[in-house]
């Protein structure tokens, strides 16, 4: 398999290329910011699972979080960073290129 091959999945960003992380990135790319509960409900993940994926995205510098209080309980809002937005845009382009490459 050559580097220009449309099936070169190794070129895809490994941080984004997971079903839950991709869904989180897609949601955050279309909003200003979102609460943890909103992401959890939209993605359909458990609290622990989503938390693990969000940590991975935060460590990669793609997402930032801010804690605040709502009715006395702690809540977190997540937002895509500029590198995160760029990485997501690149990821989409790679998939679109892949589809273009497969067209007869």
């Amino acid at each position: 398999m050559t580097e220009s091959s449309p099936f070169d999945y190794r070129a895809l960003d490994d941080v984004i290329h997971s079903r839950i992380r991709l869904a989180v990135m897609a949601i955050l790319a279309s909003v200003d910011d979102a609460e943890f509960t909103f992401l959890r409900d939209r993605v359909g993940a458990t609290d622990g699972n989503l938390s693990t994926h969000l940590t991975r995205l935060t460590e990669a510098g793609y997402v930032t979080s801010r804690k605040f209080l709502v009715d006395g309980r702690a809540a977190s809002r997540y937002r895509l960073t500029r590198p995160g937005r760029r990485a997501f845009s690149n990821y989409l382009k790679q998939i679109e290129d892949l589809l273009g490459g497969l067209e007869p």
């Binding site: 999945y9 869904a23 897609a26 909003v31 200003d32 979102a34 909103f38």
Partner: protein
């Protein structure tokens, strides 16, 4: 990754992005607050006007407007609005903040400056409400909310043709029917949506 997987992935990404962009909630609190305050203020004004106690009218609206704006600021700072901030919530918030300021200015400055007859006020306010509801419903893809806007416009036209002291009481009833009720519908829908997820 094959073509089918990639196409499926792209489709689900687009669907998630479109849903999240259009998501709208947490807008009913301000409507409920202002609707309740306005209904009380208008009824109290109607009573004060009958008693010809014009100083009381100034106090009623001073207290109503100051407490309303303080509560609105408190609601905004409390951050209990929408669990997501997006184009829809920004546009909705912008519409109602600008209309809130417009309604406040029409209700105060235009009366004290003498630019507007007090008997015309209920009709003019109803027309402004109509614009807010129609635009909100159109933007949020809720035809029933746009219909509320049309009902406000029709009521506003009626109030302008039939001006009189009773207009205040009619407007108080309209606020209960066309502001408080829609706020309760939006609250119930939001709670039903939360329960489903």
């Amino acid at each position: 990754m094959n073509q089918q997987t990639a196409q499926g992935e792209l489709a689900s990404i687009r669907s998630l992005m479109a849903d999240s962009q259009a998501f709208l909630s947490g807008t009913w609190q301000h409507q409920l607050l202002w609707g309740t305050l306005a209904a009380i203020g208008l009824s109290a004004t109607w009573v004060a006007a009958r008693e010809e106690s014009y100083t009381a009218i100034g106090w009623i609206w001073g207290v109503t407007l100051v407490s309303g704006w303080l509560c609105s600021v408190w609601l905004m700072r409390r951050g209990t609005g929408s669990p997501v901030r997006n184009v829809a919530t920004r546009a909705f918030g912008g519409i109602w903040l600008s209309l809130g300021v417009t309604l406040t200015l029409i209700g105060t400055v235009s009366i004290y400056s003498g630019a507007l007859e007090p008997s015309s006020l209920p009709g003019v306010l109803a027309l402004v409400f109509g614009a807010g509801y129609f635009a909100s419903g159109f933007m949020a893809g809720m035809p029933w909310l746009s219909a509320v806007g049309v009902a406000w416009w029709a009521s506003g036209v009626g109030l302008l043709f039939r001006r009189g002291p009773g207009g205040l009481l009619v407007l108080a009833v309209l606020v209960l029917l066309l502001e408080v009720m829609p706020a309760l519908v939006l609250r119930n829908r939001e709670r039903a949506g939360a329960a489903r997820s």
